[in-house]
C-alpha cells in the first residue's frame, strides 16, 4: 500500500482510512456545507447552470483532501476551494459566455407560485448585478457577512485575515453596494 501511495502523483493521505470513515466524513461534509458552498459560488458570480458542476468540484476536492482538513476547519477549506473553482470557472465562462445562460432552478420550484419564482429570480439577478460592482475581496466578505450571516471573527478565521480587515472591507463593500443600488435606482426612474 505504501509503495502504491508513493507512486501516485498526489498521494491522498486519507487512503489509509477505511472506506467507511472517509465516506462518512465526506457525506457529512456535503450534508453540512452544501448550501453554504452553493450560495457562495452563486454569489461569487457562477451562473446557475454552472453552479452544480462547480459545487461538485469543490466537494470532490474536499473529499480528496479530507485527511488534510482539520475537524472544525471544514468551512475554511471549502471557502478556499470554492474561491479557486469560481475563479477558474469565471475565466472559462468568459470565453464561452455566449453559450451559458442562467436557467430556472430544476427543483424547489414546485412549492412556489410563478409570481414568487419570478420575483425570486429578479431579486437574485439584481443582487448579483450589485455584487458584481464589488471587487473580489469585498464581494467575498459581503457574502459571508451579509448573506451567510457569519460574525466578523468567524469570517476572519475562514478567510484568514485579521478581524479589523474584515470590518474595513465590509464597510467598503456596503458603501459600494449602496452606491451601485442608488445608481441603478436613478437609472430606472
Amino acid at each position: 500500500m505504501s509503495d502504491l501511495s508513493l507512486a501516485l502523483d498526489s498521494p491522498p493521505a486519507g487512503a489509509r482510512d477505511s472506506v467507511g470513515n472517509s465516506d462518512t466524513r465526506a457525506r457529512a461534509l456535503v450534508n453540512d456545507h452544501f448550501d453554504f458552498v452553493w450560495r457562495l459560488l452563486r454569489r461569487l458570480g457562477i451562473p446557475e447552470a454552472d453552479a452544480d458542476d462547480a459545487a461538485q468540484q469543490v466537494f470532490i476536492v474536499g473529499t480528496r483532501r479530507l485527511a488534510d482538513i482539520l475537524l472544525g476547519n471544514e468551512r475554511t477549506f471549502l471557502y478556499g476551494a470554492a474561491l479557486r473553482v469560481a475563479s477558474t470557472m469565471r475565466r472559462n465562462s468568459a470565453r464561452r459566455a455566449r453559450f451559458i445562460r442562467s436557467v430556472p432552478a430544476e427543483s424547489d420550484t414546485s412549492l412556489r407560485t410563478p409570481h414568487d419564482e419570478l420575483e425570486r429570480h429578479l431579486a437574485l439577478a439584481l443582487l448579483d448585478q450589485l455584487l458584481s460592482s464589488l471587487d473580489d475581496d469585498q464581494r467575498a466578505i459581503f457574502v459571508l457577512c451579509e448573506i451567510e450571516e457569519l460574525t466578523a471573527p468567524q469570517v476572519a478565521a475562514i478567510v484568514n485575515i485579521p478581524v479589523g480587515t474584515v470590518a474595513s472591507r465590509l464597510r467598503r463593500a456596503r458603501h459600494s453596494f449602496g452606491a451601485e443600488l442608488k445608481r441603478l435606482k436613478a437609472q430606472g426612474t
Binding site: 452544501f34 470532490i60 439577478a125
Partner: protein
C-alpha cells in the same frame, strides 16, 4: 435590468433587506446535493480503491495516475445511471469485505465493440444519440454498504433507448460463492476498470479539447468513444459533451437537434440544465434574421 423596475421602486433599505433575504434562502437544488453525495462517495471510494488494490493484489499500475480520473468519472457514471454504482458496489464489497462474496459482473466487462446497432460516426449525419438502455437494479441486488444509500433511485435511470441495444444487466448474486467465483469477479472488476479507464480517458480528452475551444478534437474523441463503446457506461456524459462540441463547431442546427434529443432522453440528467442552456441559445440564433 428588464423586469426589475418594480423591485427598484422599493426604498433602498427595504430592497436591500429583500435581496439579502432571498439570497439567504437560496438553497441548492436537491438534485445537486444528491449528485454531490454520490460524487463524494465515489471519490471516497477512489481512496478505497487504492486500499483495495492491496487486497486485490494486482492491477496497481492501472491506477497510477488514473485514480483521480476514475473517481471523478465514476461519479459521473453514477449520477447518470446505475452502471457506475454497479462497479462501485463491487469495489466496496471487495474492499470493505474481502471475505464476502463479491458477486458482481459489470456491463463494461462485456465488450460490445461489434455491436451491429452502432451508428455512423460522422456527426454531420445528424447522428442519433446512441443510448444504452440501463436496466434498473434488480430487487435482489445486494444493498451496497456505503454507496447505495446515496444512490439515485432506479426509476431515475434513463429508460429510453433510441437504438435497440441489449440492456446492461447485472448477473444475480451467486448463492454460494467459491474462490474461483471470486477470482472471476476480481478479473471482471479489473477488466471493467480497464474499460472504464479508457472511456474516461476519451471523454476527458473531449472535455479538455472543448475547454480549449478545439471542437474538432473534441468530436474526434467523442467519435472514437462511440466507436469503441457503443454501449459505454458514460454515454450520457458523452452525449452532453457532443451537444457542446457540435455547437462549438458551428453546426447549430445539428447541435439543436442533439440538445432536444438529449433533453427528451435524459430528462433527469444533471447535465440537463447545461444542455438546455445551449438549446436556448441555438433557438435564439435560429430566430435571428
Amino acid at each position: 435590468m428588464p423586469g426589475s423596475d418594480a423591485l427598484l421602486d422599493k426604498p433602498s433599505a427595504e430592497l436591500t433587506e429583500l435581496l439579502l433575504r432571498v439570497a439567504r434562502a437560496d438553497a441548492a437544488p436537491r438534485e445537486a446535493r444528491e449528485r454531490a453525495l454520490q460524487n463524494v462517495a465515489a471519490a471516497a471510494l477512489g481512496l478505497g480503491v487504492l486500499s483495495g488494490t492491496a487486497v486485490l493484489g494486482s492491477r496497481a499500475s492501472l491506477l497510477k495516475g488514473t485514480s483521480w480520473l476514475v473517481a471523478k468519472w465514476l461519479a459521473a457514471g453514477m449520477s447518470t445511471g446505475l452502471l457506475g454504482l454497479t462497479v462501485a458496489q463491487g469495489v466496496v464489497q471487495l474492499v470493505a469485505e474481502p471475505a464476502a462474496p463479491p458477486a458482481l459482473s459489470t456491463a463494461t466487462s462485456t465488450p460490445a465493440r461489434a455491436n451491429p446497432h452502432s451508428v455512423p460516426l460522422a456527426p454531420e449525419s445528424a447522428a442519433p444519440l446512441v443510448v444504452a438502455q440501463l436496466s434498473p437494479a434488480t430487487p435482489a441486488a445486494t444493498p451496497a454498504q456505503s454507496v447505495a444509500s446515496s444512490a439515485r433511485a432506479p426509476s431515475s435511470a434513463p429508460a429510453l433507448a433510441m437504438a435497440p441495444v441489449a440492456p446492461i444487466a447485472r448477473e444475480p448474486k451467486s448463492p454460494s460463492p467459491t474462490s474461483s467465483a471470486r477470482t472471476e469477479a476480481t478479473s471482471a472488476l479489473a477488466n471493467s476498470k480497464s474499460s472504464l479507464t479508457r472511456e474516461l480517458t476519451l471523454l476527458e480528452q473531449a472535455r479538455s479539447a472543448l475547454a480549449q475551444r478545439a471542437a474538432g478534437g473534441a468530436l474526434q474523441a467523442l467519435d472514437q468513444y462511440r466507436s469503441e463503446f457503443p454501449r459505454g457506461a458514460l454515454q450520457v456524459e458523452a452525449a452532453a459533451l457532443r451537444v457542446e462540441a457540435v455547437g462549438q463547431s458551428g453546426d447549430r442546427a445539428l447541435a439543436q437537434r442533439l440538445a432536444l434529443a438529449f433533453l427528451a432522453n435524459f430528462p433527469t440528467s444533471a447535465r440537463c440544465a447545461r444542455v438546455r442552456a445551449y438549446s436556448e441559445v441555438f433557438v435564439g440564433d435560429a430566430q435571428k434574421p
